[in-house]
């Protein structure tokens, strides 16, 4: 499994090393390893219950692996609490959209800048000029992102009243506001219609190209993964089944068996 030193000269941005997760006797992940390189779009696929979301939650520190390590730019992230993941450049979206429903689009995205800004409650209350200026700078940056994702028109609308597709874009904007190096997208195509899915694919590629953000895409929608991913990792029953280019993974007999079933299954 270990590659040669020459091949490793370009160190991976994120390395998942032999990660296992056990929930009360049920092995959700079993020794999964893979690397993510800068600028890559990596698709993580697998049938229901394969461990995709479990792995995802390990990356965002909601679950603690019982074995293995996760390295971000060479440093383990496992000692960090969940709220200190954003600051090292790992951003995420959620499977069923987890926005702040009562806040406006603008404020949702401004919360995204939390890890990139500093303040304390005393000066926030008194609001001296420099706090006002910092707020204005934040708002300017957020406004740029809203423009980038075509959200300016709804900036002051509470997100609870927005269509699902728009909410997904708001979530993406919120994640981008944290200036991530890696963007973890948990089933971004879920709940979108056919056209929206391909629009999303273009958008993800655009974000990677414009901002140099590495993307980990956990997705059910095979068409989307195969059309935009550079590299695909397939999981089944908590194990890595196959890894490679979309074409390689698609033609892998184990992957085909996992998705379509086999005669002996």
């Amino acid at each position: 499994m270990q590659q040669t030193d020459v091949a490793r000269a370009k160190a991976p941005l994120l390395a998942v090393r032999d990660v296992s997760v056990v929930f009360g006797g049920i092995v959700a992940l079993n020794g999964v390893s893979f690397d993510m390189h800068r600028g890559q779009i990596l698709g993580l696929i697998g049938p229901n219950g394969a461990g995709k979301t479990t792995l995802f939650n390990c990356l965002s520190r909601l679950y603690q692996p019982s074995k293995g390590d996760i390295l971000m730019e060479g440093d383990s992230i496992l000692a960090r609490p969940a709220h200190r993941i954003a600051e090292i450049g790992i951003g995420r979206t959620f499977q069923n959209v987890a926005l702040f429903p009562n806040l406006s689009v603008l404020d949702n995205v401004r919360v995204g800048t939390h890890s990139r800004t500093r303040s304390n409650f005393i000066t926030d209350s008194i609001r001296p000029p420099w706090v006002g200026r910092a707020e204005a700078a934040t708002t300017k940056r957020v406004d740029d992102i809203l423009g980038y994702l075509d959200l300016r028109e709804v900036a002051h609308v509470p997100v609870a009243g927005l269509p699902f597709g728009t909410q997904k874009r708001v979530e993406l904007a919120r994640a981008l506001a944290a200036e991530p190096k890696i963007l973890l997208l948990d089933e971004p195509a879920g709940g979108l219609n056919h056209e929206e899915v391909y629009g999303l694919g273009d958008l993800i590629r655009k974000i990677r190209d414009d901002r140099g953000i590495t993307v980990l895409l956990v997705e059910h929608h095979m068409g989307l993964v195969m059309s935009i991913a550079d590299h695909v990792v397939a999981l089944n029953f908590g194990r890595k089944l196959a890894e490679g280019t979309p074409a390689q993974v698609q033609s892998d007999p184990d992957v085909i068996k996992a998705y379509l079933g086999s005669k002996d299954a």
Binding site: S60, L62, P81, A82, H83, R84, I85, A86, E87, G91, R92, F94, A98, L99, F100, P101, N102, L103, S104, D107, R110, V111, G112, H114, S115, T117, S119, N120, F121, D124, S125, I126, R127, V131, E135, T138, H156, V157, P158, A160, G161, L162, R174, A178
Partner: protein, 337 residues
């Protein structure tokens, strides 16, 4: 506007207010402030005293609003923080001869620390369970104040008498009028700070936690820190209100700070509208003036009359004065069009 209406009619656990609407506009605010400054010119001393009490409770309700409306945590223990603030001011003034103005920041700081520390274990609880834990605090406080060990300082069951301050610089106004203006200025400062806070990075972090803890954490918000901070800020603000209350009433005694006070403050917050800061004034008016009104209707059944009024209010405007204010805003907009 329709999205806003939706969030008003849907009634989630903590009916939150969209952030742009937590305060009044500049014009309305200025008008309210001018009105509040002008009242003593026309009113009698007793009315002025009642208005001082009204402002003080409004500060305490505002504090609860920061906690519940801002960070989504419940508290039925605000009377404990209020008591702590009141006793801090009273003891500093009567035992140490500290100027009444200076006792307020001390009361605020002490209550902030106490609230912050109380917030730490309370982190493990949420919703109704947190309300129960704070309820325990409220029930314990009067008894702690009566304890023999503290009697030298607290005056035990008897409580402490506080000297009412005179107007400074030889101003030709009565003690009541001076205290009213003093309270009014502090109220305005606290209100402005609270609005600033909720519209700041800190306030956004709190509201993010209220709406979705996991997502807030993924954005880098330290959920534990901001939750305890909200408790501390709320307790500190309540402590200042308590200190002002002690100075205004000229007396502190354990039985003035029972759970009934905490429930009254909670009631005031609901009637005013959870999370809508100007509603604190309306909610406070409800808990200060409506009992008097009920007494005028029927001396023997004043409690029942108060209850009946409360039920009617809750049925007609479940979101309190904020619902009324939005309605008026809507109508004004339609007329302008």
């Amino acid at each position: 506007m329709s999205a806003l209406q939706d969030s008003v009619t849907r009634a989630p656990a903590v009916a939150a207010v969209p952030k742009g609407n937590i305060a009044l506009g500049y014009l309305t605010s200025t008008m309210v402030v001018i009105l509040l400054f002008a009242v003593p010119l026309f009113a009698k001393n007793f009315v002025i005293f009642q208005m001082t009490i009204w402002l003080i409770y409004a500060i305490a309700i505002l504090a609860l609003n920061i906690l519940t409306g801002g960070s989504g945590q419940f508290s039925l223990g605000q009377s404990a923080f209020y008591a702590l603030g009141a006793y801090t001011s009273a003891i500093l003034m009567e035992h140490f001869g500290v100027n009444y103005v200076l006792t307020l920041p001390v009361a605020g700081a002490l209550c902030f620390a106490f609230g912050f520390l109380f917030g730490l274990p309370a982190l493990r609880l949420s919703g109704i369970y947190l309300a129960l834990a704070t309820f325990a605090l409220a029930t314990a406080m009067p008894q702690i104040l009566k304890l023999g060990v503290f009697e030298h300082w607290t005056g035990g069951v008897q409580g402490l008498v506080v000297t009412k301050p005179d107007a400074p610089f030889g101003l030709p106004i009565s003690q009541d009028v001076w205290l009213y203006y003093f309270t009014l200025v502090i109220s305005i400062v606290i209100y402005v700070f609270a609005v600033n806070l909720l519209k700041s990075r800190t306030g956004r972090a709190m509201m993010a936690i209220r709406d979705n803890e996991i997502a807030a954490s993924a954005m880098g918000v330290n959920v534990s820190l901001y939750k305890t901070l909200a408790f501390g800020i709320s307790a500190g603000t309540t402590g200042v209100a308590g200190g002002l209350g002690a100075i205004a009433v000229q007396f502190v005694a354990p039985d003035g700070y029972t759970i009934q006070l905490a429930i009254a403050l909670f009631l005031g917050m609901v009637v005013g509208g959870v999370g809508w800061l100007p509603g604190s004034l309306v909610g406070s008016a409800f808990i200060v003036f409506v009992p008097n009104l009920a007494e005028e209707v029927s001396k023997g059944l004043s409690g029942a009359v108060f209850g009946a009024i409360l039920i009617v209010v809750i049925f007609l405007v479940p979101h309190g004065s904020r619902q009324v204010a939005y309605k008026i805003q809507d109508i004004v907009r339609k007329i302008r069009k």
